[in-house]
């Protein structure tokens, strides 16, 4: 493994007409690192990835893979990476199996026997019938084709752009397993997503992007303060004591059957202490939900995300 970072982006800027898609972005992925790349749609995740893949030119700033220039050295660099887009489109007159083989052959790695065994394993794990014409595949199945093709080859860096969109939870679990396998083998991964839980499962580090800039970057623990849990509890006692605890925000109380309904947010670091305090109030019912990423953005950055769709 080379000493140069797998991905090194510094002060990257890119505009489309009058729209500033990337505005001074920094992002680094070290060899062996699994980095989550989070942000709402329209934040610039896909643009960043398309720059990394040499599909878009930069306006200014630098973007390097393994120390090489992403635009000038694209063909050489692409031998070492693999990419899964969030919306896969396949050649309609090829079957899924043919698409997988074609993509593997483009990568230029030819150990036929090993490849065939690995392909059979991946097809089985992802429950994909490779003999159907790809025009008849559903969105989820097209996504599986790209995932099988990606995990078929031994890349040093996996660039995954919302790779699980359209997959059911079972298949998401299979995907997570293969990402962990890649991690164990010392590969680097950039996993772009807007699903916090998916990122939490596999990533060591996270970069959060908004309006084309990285707004938070660090290990998951470092970012844990970003995460709060919404709690709704119906209690017999007086919930106002809870309000005074550290890490409790936005407490609202309303009368309810058999007591008071209290709704509030808790910093995850404090959740144990707060729940014990709530338990002392004679709990009738309790629900706790982690806030969505969009809610987090709204809470930490003042205004609503530009485009939450």
């Amino acid at each position: 493994m080379t000493a140069a970072p797998a991905i090194e982006i510094h002060d990257l800027r890119k505009s489309f007409g009058t729209v500033q898609a990337l505005d001074g972005l920094d992002l680094t992925v070290q060899p062996g690192e699994i980095r989550g790349f989070l942000g709402p749609n329209g934040a610039g995740k896909s643009t960043t990835i398309r720059v990394l893949l040499g599909l878009l030119r930069t306006d200014s700033g630098s973007a390097r893979l393994f120390g090489g220039d992403v635009w000038r050295d694209a063909v050489e660099l692409h031998k070492r990476i693999t990419y899964v887009p969030g919306d896969v489109s396949l050649w309609p007159n090829l079957t899924g199996g043919e698409c997988i083989d074609y993509l593997a052959r483009l990568s230029g790695r030819h150990d036929k026997k090993r490849l065939a065994a690995r392909k059979a394993e991946l097809l089985e794990r992802f429950e994909l019938d490779p003999r159907k014409k790809s025009r008849t595949y559903s969105k989820g199945n097209r996504q599986k084709v790209a995932l099988v093709a990606a995990f078929l080859t031994d890349a040093e860096l996996y660039v995954l752009d919302e790779p699980t969109s359209g997959l059911d939870p079972l298949m998401e679990a299979v995907f997570t397993e293969y990402v962990r396998e890649a991690k164990a083998a010392g590969r680097s991964v950039l996993l772009s997503s807007h699903i916090l839980s998916e990122v939490e499962k596999v990533c060591d580090t996270v970069t959060i992007i908004r309006n084309g800039t990285d707004v938070e970057s660090g290990t998951l623990d470092e970012l844990r303060h970003l995460t709060r849990t919404s709690v709704t509890a119906v209690v017999a006692g007086d919930p106002s004591s809870v309000m005074r605890l550290d890490g409790v925000h936005d407490l609202v109380t309303t009368p309810a059957d058999g007591g008071t309904r209290a709704t509030f947010d808790v910093d995850n670091a404090q959740i144990g202490a707060v729940l014990s305090a709530v338990a002392a109030l004679d709990v009738h019912s309790l629900t706790a939900t982690p806030p969505s990423l969009e809610e987090l953005f709204m809470r930490h950055y003042g205004d609503a995300p530009a485009d939450a769709r």
């Binding site: 896909s46 398309r50 893949l53 040499g54 599909l55 878009l56 030119r57 694209a74 063909v75 050489e76 692409h78 031998k79 990476i81 990419y83 887009p85 919306d87 896969v88 489109s89 396949l90 050649w91 007159n93 090829l94 079957t95 199996g97 043919e98 698409c99 997988i100 083989d101 074609y102 993509l103 052959r105 483009l106 990568s107 230029g108 065939a116 490779p130 003999r131 159907k132 014409k133 025009r135 008849t136 790209a146 660039v159």
Partner: protein
Amino acid sequence: MTALATAPAAPAAVRGPALGSTLAGTGRLLRVMLRRDRLRLLVWPLGVALLYAGALGEYVILGDDPEAMSVRATLMRTPAMISMAGPGYGVDDYTPGAAVANELILWLVLTLAVMSILQVVRHTRAEEESSRSELVRAGAVGRHASSVAALLQVVIANVLVAVVSGLVLVAYDFDAAESFTMTFSVALGALVFGAVALVAAQAMEHGRGATGISLAVLGGAYSLRAIGDIQEEHGSWLSWLSPIGWVQQTRVFVDMRWWPLGLCAAAIVLLITLAAVLGSRRDFGAGLVAVRAGRSDADPALTGPFALAGVQQRMALLWTSLGLGLMWFASGGVVEAVPDLVESVADNPVYSAILGEGDDLIRTFLGVFGLYAGSGAAAFGVAMALRAKGEEESGRAELALTKPVSRARWFASGLVLALAGAAVVQVTGVLALWAGAASSGLDEPGFDAYLELALAYLPGLAVIVAFAAALYAWVPKATGLAWVLFGYVFVVGMFADLFGLPDWARGISPFWWVGNPMVDGVDAAHLWGLCGVAALLLLLAFTGFRRRDLQNG
């Protein structure tokens, strides 16, 4: 359908609910279909009416010239023209009406049959496949409702066409009763194929399969009639197996008879009944013919973008070469009769402007066919070169380019094949022209002259295809301009003299520099010049494509 739903022969297990409930919601579905397709349903009748109007003008001009008409009638007795027209009723006294019926019915039925097939499949199997109709069927909508609504929609479209085109005929002073008989017969013939599509939609699991089978039936009907009519004047028994033949056998404008239309009606009823039986027996989303599973591993030859482009373009190349080749073969077969024909229309300024004043009319005529063949090849080349745009917009280009595949390699793979394919279409087309001419006994000019004609167009073809590629590389939004150039080339080739275009305006067309190799030979300097322009455009295209952003999928 009533007979079917309650047919005593049907096993109890498959006997459906009462007819009324299987048709529930038909009216609402029909309204939605008509609304969704209002543009299509407007474009088809207008297109067909224009087809009529364009053709009728010519017949009316010819009608004033009995000699021209009799030459035309003679042509209509040749096998080539029989295959492209009709059984030849009324050729002994070829009136404009007889000519309209003999020469137009085939094309009108073909056009409207294609429309009917596409519309029926679009609203039945394709809809079912997309799972949109799952939502619809879950509502208060009966099993047969979408089939019936689709059929009604096609009936409405065909009737609309029949009325509009009948009015066009009447406007050109054709007899009203005969005119409307003809247009409604054509509509009825087209509906037979709509009903075929309805059966296919039950049998096949995928919309494309249903369309393919229906078009194959249409092709079969075309061939049966052509063979039958060539075998015997006014058609042999083979002609009577074809719904297109039934429409032509009404002898409209000559000695009209109605009863062949009874065959159309009977076929429609039979096919609808069959579709209803099949529809009652199958599960939603399932077909009767299982889809054959494809390969699970790619062919070892599928090694890179070049091989893939070959897979993507080869069927289009095969069918285009074959289709155009047959047309040029048939055209070659009538060239021998050209001098007679031209003599008879010598007073017509339109024709003489197109054909010019050449001494050797056959060579002039062959030169015009060379231009036609070149235009066909150019259209194929442009369409294939612009496939890259579809690949890029769909995101498939992105999949390939994020592999160790350079932009130049990816771009070249499609483009080289587009250029080669255009050359193949051109050369096979002109050689088919030669084969047609030779088979009708025309041995002068010889093979070498045809080969020269074919090859002389290649540099010009390369310029047109390279122009499309350069547009795609620099301003992908403006690739429509490639088709504008294509249209311009055709107009210059056909009508430059008629419009009195100045030379600089003609020079924009790459084909103008080719001239007519059959008459004037080949000017090597011009061809080298065209090669230079093509090379320059290709260089421009590659430079542009390597430096621009890839569009988002």
